[in-house]
């Protein structure tokens, strides 16, 4: 058991190192520098009272690019191993396919979480420099964003075993960015629907993974108080259930896959 965990940890470490070798995390630094430059431009304009705007830009950049990095990293893990034939020597060693899959998942999750933490740290420093205060909801937003990385990584890794790499990246990015639009559209039209269309809309709402519920950006931007602890616990449970579901489906597929 302990030996198996160590091997899984090694796979995870290799996945993280591979991302570093591909210079993914450096994107964080470049984007962070762009954010600082952008905020510097506003101070150059001499306009005061743009606290909400600076927070809005910072959190939007953080959300979009952390999702992009997570999706891209998760989508290439298994197809790249299969395509480069590096999967075979790995599985030749005494490690189960489940252990290998878990290692890949943990690697992507850790790397994406580190990226989110780096983004938030950079944003916090930037806000401190500009004298913009943030309440406890900022740290809650960080927690939910990290949680969402594990949720997204599980989904994308699972999907990478069913569709091609490019299709996976496209579908995953569209789903991540468009989930809020779908959810809001259903809320907009719900009262006007009847019969089958109403049942269908409600079913879609219940089944679809709601990534937008991990986004506390608006509360941070508009200075709302922190959310109650039970809501964070609820979202943690939601992420665990969905990530577990994606992981189980993906792992089952990987174990049965002819290599």
């Amino acid at each position: 058991m302990r030996n198996g965990l160590r091997k899984t940890g090694t796979v995870a470490r290799v996945a993280v190192l591979e991302s570093i070798r591909r210079k993914d995390p450096y994107v964080v630094l470049i984007l962070g520098a762009a954010m600082v430059l952008g905020a510097g431009l506003f101070s150059h304009f001499g306009v005061e009272g743009l606290e909400k705007f600076v927070k809005d830009v910072g959190l939007t950049v953080t959300t979009v690019f952390s999702i992009v990095i997570c999706v891209v990293a998760a989508a290439r893990q298994l197809p790249a191993e299969i395509e480069n034939r590096t999967l075979y020597p790995s599985l030749g060693k005494p490690i189960s396919r489940t252990g290998f899959y878990l290692g890949k998942y943990v690697g992507v999750g850790l790397m994406s979480s580190a990226v989110v933490v780096a983004f938030f740290l950079l944003l916090r420093i930037l806000l401190l420099v500009f004298g913009i205060s943030v309440g406890g909801v900022f740290y809650q937003a960080l927690y939910l964003r990290v949680l969402s990385m594990w949720f997204v990584a599980a989904g994308v890794l699972c999907l990478s075993l069913f569709v091609t790499h490019s299709a996976n990246v496209t579908i995953s990015l569209l789903a991540c960015m468009g989930m809020q639009i779908v959810a809001h559209s259903i809320l907009y039209v719900h009262d006007e629907l009847t019969g089958v269309s109403l049942r269908l809309a409600e079913a879609v709402y219940w089944v679809a993974p709601h990534l937008e519920l991990f986004d506390l950006s608006k509360k941070v931007i508009h200075g709302w108080p922190p959310v109650p602890w039970w809501a964070l616990a609820g979202m943690t449970l939601y992420a665990v259930v969905y990530a577990g579901l994606f992981f189980t489906v993906g792992c089952a597929r990987f174990r049965r896959m002819p290599l």
Binding site: F42, F45, V47, E48, G49, L50, K52, F53, D56, L144, H184, L187, Y188, H190, D191, E192, E202, Y205, W206, H210, E212, L213, F214, D215, L216, K218, K219, I221, H222, W224, V227, P228, A231, G234, M235, Y238
Partner: protein, 298 residues
């Protein structure tokens, strides 16, 4: 035979030139753009793309205005079912024509109307949501927003007029509003909306009726130009433009009345009523001017 060939060739070239002239995009050069700017826009892909980007950013910023005003809460228009139950949208007009809007119920339903159970409860706690009537944040918070918006797009006329209104009214800084509009007028010399708002600020906050009359008279003339240009393209003023023009005529007539130029005030009312028959306040102003004229003034 050879001469005939030359003639045919020349005729062909002439025809090609005529066709090319007819088929080339015809740009209408008016006071807004210099011929050089048209040429540059026509030839430079980069300039065209950057122009589109600027428009998109400023439009996005304008859309964000209401989100900021509502502290992030999204409101929607009531559904048919809600209307039948007596739930209606509230009208908010006291914050400048450009941000006048209707707020219905919030997009995220309250507990009593939510069909989503625990997901709805989580949503109400994660996204900005508040029970009861729509509330607005302090409109002064939008002033820097408008200042940045015009940095991105100095031709965003509504940002100048609304920003100036917020500066003068909510922030009680009419000097700031006037300077903001003067900067806007310099960058948009064709805009009757900016001149009209400038005239109103001179009238309402500075009581400088001579300056107000000059700005409002200019607004009326610019509006006529704009209306003529639209008519050539078989288009008309929208409701907001009609309202601004109505106010320009009205405050011009009021300025002339304050200056004791009652004949001119009546003439402005007549012209305004002819241009905008549904601008009823001009009839009232005309009666005031006539009363003062027959009472021995002017």
């Amino acid at each position: 035979m050879r001469r005939l060939g030359w003639l045919a060739g020349a005729a062909g070239l002439l025809l090609a030139a005529l066709l090319a002239h007819g088929m080339a995009p015809q740009f209408q050069v008016d006071s807004r753009y210099k011929p050089g700017e048209y040429q540059a826009a026509k030839e430079s892909v980069a300039l065209s793309l950057l122009g589109q980007l600027r428009m998109s950013v400023s439009d996005l910023m304008w859309l964000k205005t209401l989100e900021y005003l509502h502290n992030g809460i999204i409101y929607r228009m009531p559904s048919e079912q809600e209307r039948a139950e007596g739930i209606d949208a509230e009208e908010f007009t006291g914050m400048g024509a450009g941000v006048a809007h209707h707020d219905g119920p919030s997009l995220i339903p309250g507990e009593d109307r939510d069909w989503r159970g625990i997901l709805g409860e989580l949503d109400r706690n994660i996204e900005p949501w508040r029970a009861g009537h729509p509330q607005h944040s302090d409109p002064q918070e939008l002033i820097p927003w408008y200042q940045v918006l015009v940095k991105f797009n100095p031709h965003y006329v509504h940002a100048y007029t609304n920003g100036a209104f917020f500066m003068s009214d909510f922030a009680q800084q009419p000097e700031m509003g006037r300077d903001f509009l003067l900067a806007g007028a310099e960058k948009n010399p064709w805009s009757f909306e900016i001149e009209s708002m400038l005239g109103r600020i001179y009238f309402d906050y500075f009581k400088e009726y001579e300056n107000a009359a000059a700005a409002l008279a200019k607004a009326v003339e610019l509006a006529k130009d704009e209306r003529r240009a639209l008519a050539q393209r078989e288009e008309e003023f929208d409701d907001l433009q009609r309202q601004v023009l109505c106010e320009a005529y009205l405050f011009l007539a009021r300025s002339q009345t304050e200056l004791g130029r009652l004949d001119e005030a009546i003439a402005v009312c007549d012209e305004g009523m002819k241009a905008l028959p549904d601008c009823n306040l001009l009839r009232v102003q005309r009666r005031i001017a006539i009363k003062r004229l027959t009472g021995g003034e002017g």
